[in-house]
Structures are given as structure tokens and as C-alpha cells.
Amino acid sequence: MEYAISARGLAKSFRGREVIRDCTLEIKRGEVYGFLGENGAGKTTVFKMLLGLLKPSAGEAAVLGLDCVRQSPEILRRTGSLIETPVFYEHLSARENLEIHLAYLEAIGDPEEALELVGLQETGEQPVAEFSLGMRQRLAVARAIVHRPEVLILDEPVNGLDPAGIHRMRELFLHLNREEGITILLSSHILHEVEQTASRIGILTHGRVAAEVDPQEIGKDFPGGMEAYYLQVVGEGGTGHE
């Protein structure tokens, strides 16, 4: 089985404190994988290790078969990501931000199309400094998809969006996944949202993926739905470094 994303025995410590420990994750090509966990559980840390922004203390991880430590530039070229609160070149327009991003990636893409997909086509020459929180979040998604990556790694991509924006993003992610075969790994605290988007859900607690489930199956064992399931898995508590 060829995995789009795989991690085995992944660990990461910060100042001697182990945040991620023995974390194993396998995401097939074409999957939408929802990554859940409490604040500080280490979701962002895992994402950063997958992108090569952090070096694992132990274990190994690969994206598209490429080693996350040694082949990080190639991974960055073939993935789109949104990590933490997105930052932009504030004095430039949305289109200019995407053009610069493409230039750094040395990739071909259509900024206008990406902006249209996230509903920012009308922003014209308006500098990003004047964008609302929701607009910035949508621009971050546009930046992640503008070069048509094979894998999308999105850390809370619907943060700050209104219900219509959330709906639009969900439709976009599903479209990218179904029509273009893009593998998506996304985290969110909006359980309902993840349940509706993901084909598989993993819950990170105590530094490792403690449970994985098909969202379609949850109702059978948990009449309370996703929330009841999630609360049971993380029930023992414990937080760490995000």
C-alpha cells in the first residue's frame, strides 16, 4: 500500500519534555483525514514535522514517499499547507501574494482561479492588510492550493470563517479530493465539520494517535455522535505543546 503520509514511532521533545511520543499515522492517497485533539495535544507539531519545519526527536515520517527530514524541499514543493495563523505580505494584494508564493515554489498556477475558488476574486488591488480574519483564512487556503499540490496539510483551515465560508471551504476540500485526487490532512476543533469532510478521523492524545475511526461508523456505537466518541477518547485528558 502506498501511503501519501506515513509516520512511524514519531517523537518530538521540547526542552526535554516529550510532546509527541510513538506517534504512528498512515494516510492513503486520496483520503481526507481529519486530525483531532485537544488544544496543545501536538497536532501542529506533527504537521510541522511532516513538512520538515521541525526535526523529530525519534521515529520517521514520509510524505509522498519522501523522507520528511532529508527531502523536505521536495515535500514542500508537492504539498500545500496552512500552519497556525497565516501570515502574508500585508502591503500587497491577494493576487500578488499568490504570485510571489508561486515564484518561490517555482511552480505554475493560476492565482485568479485559486482566488475564485475561495471567493476572493473581487478583492482586486486591495492590500491584505485591509482583509478581515475570514478573508485572510480564505487567502491562506488559496495559497495552499494555488500550485495544485498532491497533498494538503491544513491546520484548522476554517478558523475565523462564517457558516457560509465554512460551507464553501468544505465543498472546496471535497471537490479537490474527489475531482483532483488531492490527499487532505486537516485538523479542526469543529467536530461536526471534520465529521462531514473526513473519510477517516484520528484523535491525538497523550502524544500519539489513540484512536482512528470512519465517521460513517460512529453513529452505530455512539448515539451521541462524534462529540461523544471524541470525549471518550480524550477523556483521560492531558495537554502538551501545540
Binding site: K48, L51, P73, I75, H91, Y104, L105
Partner: protein, 235 residues
């Protein structure tokens, strides 16, 4: 590298630094004429001996040029380098599949190049205007010699380079602390020390060249340290 520098240029707003350079110009010009006029108002003051010839007057202006443009470098580097490698901005920077060394190199090249060119343009314009008026209505005694003009412009070149070199050292301090304030403070302290040395050696231009070479050694080490630092950074 050229492409990366062009990208840096495109995504960096140079407006504040252009305003700074444009503001420095009238101050330097006014100061130059003020210094050149002082001996006429106080003809017997021994303290003004250094201002009795064009070398002395223009030398003081070059000293001010070092201070002003070292501060421009520090401010620009604080924004383009220190802030970019701090917190969430660093995530964006490291998300590009480009060698970290090359990106930092492009940034340093842009800041150094912009500062030195601004100093040369601003200082060159000030000195150009001064020499033009000296040729027609001289304030300083004696005829204006071509050798003086060449020597003064050479000193301006050293001063512009020194401003960049001092700014680079200041950046190293600021980068280690990931602090804009530390960058600016280091810039002030270093340029004040350099300006002090320059002002007591105004009459010996070669000593400025020595100062430049001496300052370039730690600056090169600082640049190497910055490259090492970004290579091992985790965000």
C-alpha cells in the same frame, strides 16, 4: 540569487526607507553648509580648526552619513530579517522549498545593497551640490582642487560601506535576541563608537579605510553566524 533578491525586493515595502533617505538628505545638506559657515562667524575659535578646509567639513558630513545609514540598515534589517525569522513569519519563510541560506543571502544582499546605495546617492548629492556652490561661491578658503573632490567621494564610499558593515554586526545582535529593539540599540552603540573614531581621525582619511577593514572582519563572522543560525532553526 538574483531571482531571490528580486522577489525580496518585490515583497518588501521600501517606502519607509526611501522616506528616511529623503529626510536625511536635507539634514546633511543643511548641516554641511552650517559647518562650512561656522568659521566665518567665529573666525578666532580654535575649536573650529577642523572646519577650515573642505576635507574637514565634508569629513564631518561623512561621519554623520555613517550614523544615519547604519540606522537605516538596522531598521530595515530589523523588519526584513529579524521580524521575518521570528514567530509565525518564519513558518511562511521556511515553507518555501528554497535553501534557507539563499533566502537569507538575498535578504542581506538587499538590505546591504539598498543601504549602501542610498548612502552613496544621498551623500553624493549633498557633496555634489556643495562642491558645485564651492566652485561658484566658495565658503571655504582656497581653490577647489580635483584631488579634494576625488578624495572626498572616496571617503564617502568607505563611509557608505562602513554603514552597511556596522548594520550587519547590529543585525547579528538583534537576530540572536530576535528583537527589533536589540537590533536598533546595537546599531546606535556601534555607529556611535565608529563615528567617534572617525571624527578624531578626520584629517587622516586612510584611518577610515583601516576602520572599514577592521569592522568588516567581525561583520563577515556575524554573517556566517547568521547563515549557521537559520540552517538549524526550527519553527
Amino acid at each position: 540569487m538574483n531571482k531571490l533578491t528580486a522577489l525580496e525586493l518585490r515583497r518588501t515595502s521600501l517606502r519607509p526607507y526611501r522616506i528616511a533617505a529623503l529626510s536625511i538628505f536635507p539634514v546633511m545638506l543643511g548641516l554641511l553648509y552650517l559647518l562650512a559657515s561656522l568659521p566665518r562667524w567665529e573666525p578666532y575659535s580654535k575649536d573650529l580648526d577642523v572646519l577650515l578646509d573642505r576635507d574637514g567639513v565634508t569629513g564631518i558630513v561623512c561621519v554623520l552619513c555613517v550614523f544615519a545609514f547604519a540606522m537605516v540598515f538596522a531598521a530595515m534589517a530589523a523588519k526584513c530579517v529579524v521580524e521575518e525569522y521570528s514567530g509565525k513569519r518564519a513558518v511562511l519563510l521556511f515553507s518555501y522549498p528554497v535553501s534557507r541560506r539563499k533566502i537569507l543571502g538575498a535578504k542581506l544582499w538587499l538590505v546591504f545593497g539598498y543601504t549602501v546605495l542610498s548612502a552613496l546617492t544621498c551623500g553624493g548629492a549633498v557633496l555634489g551640490i556643495f562642491f558645485l556652490t564651492e566652485w561658484v561661491f566658495p565658503l571655504c578658503p582656497g581653490a577647489l582642487a580635483a584631488g579634494t573632490v576625488v578624495s572626498v567621494f572616496l571617503r564617502l564610499l568607505w563611509s557608505a560601506l562602513l554603514a552597511g558593515v556596522l548594520g550587519l554586526i547590529a543585525l547579528w545582535f538583534g537576530f540572536r535576541k530576535k528583537s527589533v529593539t536589540a537590533t536598533l540599540t546595537a546599531g546606535v552603540i556601534l555607529s556611535l563608537i565608529a563615528c567617534q573614531v572617525m571624527s578624531v581621525t578626520v584629517g587622516r582619511p586612510i584611518s577610515w579605510l583601516v576602520l572599514l577593514v577592521v569592522a568588516a572582519v567581525p561583520a563577515a563572522l556575524c554573517a556566517a553566524g547568521l547563515f549557521r543560525e537559520v540552517e538549524k532553526m526550527e519553527v
